[in-house]
């Protein structure tokens, strides 16, 4: 097993499962064992994907809609995620360091966390109507929990000795937070951000399924209603790819901005 693993260049490893999946899919579709209304042929999907992404708008249904849908979805995920970060990070760090804040927030947040996100959907639709604001709410809510919890865990595990050392070296309170507390919790914080961003995409689709006119989730729902199963698959693949890409971008951004990420994580 080891020998086999050594012969495969490690750059290839991540591609084995996706390529294998496509191969199996191709094989199944070629034999015709599964009807195309359940699982369309890969070529059909590729074709639909091509028109969806590169087609001239108006030449066919969904042609060229990708750019508009993508930007709508990106804005929703971006804003929702940003709200979650702005709330989750400071509250998390505070409750990790201050027992009073932890006691104040801990129980309530853990209670809310146990509620499945989908059960917020009806309430959100009543409060915010169908559209961007509901989606934003769902994304922000879902991303908040991992960001908050990991920031709290990160801040809690910081060795008090480091803070004492900082105080002894003459560091002011505010610089203590920025130059010791945050870097020392950074690997937890980064984990929280990545989990939060990942779940943002899941809840984006949920929010957009509720009937907004544009967005990647909306396309999936639309396409299902009109029986374009190939486009549903295109939507799924695009969201997977963009989700992965956004994770990479987040990591690169954090690396770029923080020494502690470059050096520790």
């Amino acid at each position: 097993m080891r020998d086999v693993a050594r012969k495969i260049p490690s750059g290839l490893l991540p591609w084995i499962i996706p390529l294998g999946g496509i191969g199996a899919w191709l094989a199944v579709s070629q034999t015709g064992l599964v009807p195309t209304y359940l699982l369309p042929h890969p070529m059909e999907v590729a074709n639909a994907g091509y028109y969806y992404v590169f087609g001239t708008p108006g030449t066919a249904p969904y042609a060229g809609r990708f750019a508009g849908d993508l930007s709508a979805s990106l804005i929703r995920v971006g804003c929702g995620f940003l709200i979650a970060v702005l709330l989750g990070l400071p509250l998390g760090v505070l409750s990790g360091r201050l027992p009073a804040v932890q006691r104040l927030l801990g129980a309530s947040i853990n209670g809310l966390r146990a509620v499945p996100g989908i059960s917020w959907l009806p309430l959100a639709m009543v409060w915010f109507g169908i559209g961007t604001r509901t989606t934003l709410f769902l994304v922000a809510l879902a991303a908040f929990f991992p960001i908050y919890l990991n920031a709290a865990a990160g801040a809690r595990q910081v060795d008090p000795l480091l803070l004492q050392a900082g105080a002894m070296l003459g560091v002011s309170r505010s610089r203590l937070v920025l130059s010791i507390l945050l870097p020392a919790s950074m690997s937890h914080i980064l984990t929280g951000l990545r989990l939060g961003l990942g779940i943002s995409w899941a809840y984006l689709v949920l929010g957009e399924l509720s009937g907004v006119p544009n967005g990647l989730g909306a396309v999936i729902m639309d396409a299902r209603m009109v029986g374009r199963i190939d486009l549903v698959v295109v939507g799924i693949i695009l969201i997977a790819a963009i989700g992965r890409l956004s994770d990479q971008l987040l990591k690169a951004f954090m690396r770029c901005c923080f020494k502690s990420v470059r050096r520790m994580a």
């Binding site: 480091l162 002894m168 070296l169 003459g170 010791i180 870097p183 020392a184």
Partner: protein, 274 residues
């Protein structure tokens, strides 16, 4: 008796210390500890950890606190550093009461307390960054201290990439660069192998001479105390008190295998066992 007993038990201030030329409250006394006591509350009961501790440290002196595990050495240093506040008594640095941690009383910890995300160089510069000196001045100062502790070639390394001895060199440099009035050291070489420990002891003595620092050095190692100290404060347990205040009359540089050194260490061991 080779080691010379000094006055203890709260009398140090009533009487001018032997080496003090400037009168009873001598201007040269950097650190004054007067009748210090600290009680810890634990499971509802009050436990006196330190009681009636009185001593003072003169500028440029190297004082060792010697005592067995649990006698309150770390607690005493934390009080001096300002991480803890005393239950009774007074702590003065240059005549001012100690209220909070500050760069005039820096500590080298028993454990590794470096910032793992900063390089050797950045760790050493850390305390200077908040001050109003230019980048170039900071850089020059850091260079000087890197050279002093012999870490020139390791400036770009992270703490996780260097040995335990080197880490303690960084810990030493990052506080020395702030020119503290008193350097507090809590068994800083306790976790090192014996060869590295001897290297570090030599380095400390060399820096002490070169920079004329005032040092309070905690140890439970008799040889280490004899090798380093001008004065040794031997501590009792339960509650922690200072049992004797001994002057070490050995000339420097000291060697561990001299007869005088050996007989003194035997004597000191006996004092410690009492």
């Amino acid at each position: 008796m080779l080691l010379q007993e000094r006055k203890t038990n709260g009398m140090t201030n009533a009487q001018p210390p032997l080496h003090d030329a400037n009168g009873p409250h001598g201007g040269r006394s950097v650190l004054e500890v007067k009748d210090l006591g600290r009680v810890f509350h634990w499971n509802g009961s009050a436990k006196p950890v330190l009681e009636g501790i009185t001593f003072d440290v003169t500028r440029g002196e190297l004082v060792c606190l010697l005592g067995r595990s649990g006698c309150g050495k770390t607690t005493l240093l934390k009080l001096l550093a300002g991480f803890l506040s005393p239950t009774t008594g007074e702590l003065l640095v240059d005549g001012d009461p100690i209220k909070r941690p500050g760069p005039d009383r820096c500590m080298v910890f028993q454990e590794d307390a470096l910032f793992a995300w900063l390089t050797v160089e950045e760790n050493i510069a850390f305390g200077l960054n908040g001050r109003k000196s230019g980048k170039a001045a900071i850089h020059q100062e850091v260079d000087r201290y890197l050279a002093l502790v012999g870490l020139r070639d390791f400036r770009g390394y992270l703490p996780g990439e260097i040995s335990g001895g080197m880490k303690q060199r960084v810990a030493l440099a990052r506080v020395l660069i702030l020119k503290p009035k008193v350097l507090l050291m809590d068994e800083p070489f306790g976790a090192l192998d014996s060869q590295t420990r001897e290297e570090m002891q030599d380095l400390l003595l060399q820096l002490w001479k070169e920079l004329s620092i005032t040092i309070v050095f905690v140890t439970h190692d008799v040889e280490e105390a004899l090798l380093l100290a001008d004065r040794i404060l031997v501590m009792d347990r339960n509650p922690g008190r200072i049992r004797s205040d001994l002057r070490v009359p050995l000339s420097r540089p000291r060697a561990r295998d001299e007869d005088e050194f050996l007989s003194m260490s035997r004597e000191l061991r006996a004092v410690l066992r009492l």
